[in-house]
Symmetry: C2
Subunit: 208 residues, 2 copies
DNA sequence: AACAAACTCACCCCAATGAGCGATACCACT
DNA sequence: AGTGGTATCGCTCATTGGGGTGAGTTTGTT
């Protein structure tokens, strides 16, 4: 049995071309649609191995489409196929459960490679996209822009575990007021006014 | 001028084979080393375009190697080349600034593709690795395991921005005590005892 | 119609915390 | 010898926040 693929793409010409190309290359295109409102049902009924999903479509957009498909049938691999390369759409798609992210400028040959890759448990991404994804991990390079001292970093690390001042003092074998003193300095350096803000900032900027 | 590559790999046979292969394919291997203690200086002196970096080496390991190179010369692309595929080492490398992550089972042809890809601003990763990376974004599927109500999620989203109860109440046009009430329920559902813990848990588990 | 869940608000008590003052000591650098 | 940064500790005061309890309203489900 062949590889079952479903397409969601509102540009009719492009969608039909894709379907044709895929069929020519031995894939079984079990459905192609110009909008993804019924994506969940389609996934359940046709049980595709791979879905190619555009983002910009009338009705529900492709991001919602991914979410619906992944809820309805998680084992289906969903690969985004779009012109968008802005961070916001990208990470929304990834959070929604996309298994790959290809830009439309991807040549057909690479497209087939990508389908093969996702079937083998990979996560095909256009180079620009992969770089963006990796960069989200590397914010550590900017970690010390707040000029925290080693001791302050240590305190902050306890703080972001949700520990209270009293507990932190015990863990670090320090006096209660010493920890508070460190925290005051930390808050100043991070330009925040309370522990909650500090935790939020530290975790979202991956300072520690 | 050719593409300048530096290798760090403690297996002499493998390292020499790689150097040979790369040279045969037109790359300029400006250095190959069996340990990376001097990685920073090497990067500064030879100004390589790409570094292939093993992880398990005597002395400083490759993770420290990446960090040193990225501090000394950020424009050098560092691609990990290792047998390790455990999450811990992987994400340490990515946080340290690695621009790619290839498993040693990668065939040479793919290796050349990867070097080309990283030179073009991409982030070559072996399929298994890419999947792991993407999966870190998709924790949303487990988001509702705590069974938070829509309103509670909304409150939590304000909370993790570091806002105080008073501010949250104002933003949501609610009474102070209403927000507290929601928070109490949230704390119960998340099995935490205070806002700081809730923020820590919500952000580290990407609940919202 | 009955019930559960979610949403809303209120009151009390007291612990936790941030702000704003300090202080001493150590260390590196000039 | 002085300067600045870090680390340590102390105090008061006002605000914030968490635990407990209760209760009215809406909404959806059975």
């Amino acid at each position: 049995m062949g590889i079952k693929i479903v397409l969601f793409e509102d540009n009719d010409r492009l969608r039909e071309s894709l379907a044709y190309l895929l069929k020519m290359n031995g894939y079984e295109v079990v459905g192609d649609y110009n909008q993804c409102t019924e994506a969940a049902n389609i996934a359940r009924v046709y049980e595709p191995d791979v879905v190619l999903m555009d983002i910009d479509m009338p009705g529900d957009n492709g991001i919602k489409g991914v979410r619906m498909i992944k809820e309805a049938r998680p084992q289906t691999s969903v690969v985004m196929y779009t012109v968008f390369e802005d961070d916001e759409k990208l990470f929304e798609c990834l959070c929604a459960g996309a298994n790959g992210y290809l830009l439309k400028k991807t040549p057909p040959a690479k497209l087939f490679d990508a389908i093969q890759e996702v079937l083998e448990g990979g996560a095909p991404m256009s180079p620009v996209i992969a770089r963006k994804v990796l960069n989200t991990f590397q914010v550590k390079v900017t970690s010390n822009k707040y000029n925290l001292s080693p001791r302050e970093i240590e305190v902050l690390q306890w703080l972001i575990k949700g520990y209270s001042i009293k507990i932190i003092a015990a863990e670090m074998s320090l006096a209660f007021d010493t920890v508070r003193s460190h925290l005051k300095n930390i808050y100043q350096k991070l330009h925040v006014n309370c522990g909650k803000e500090a935790i939020a900032k530290a975790l979202s900027e991956r300072i520690v």
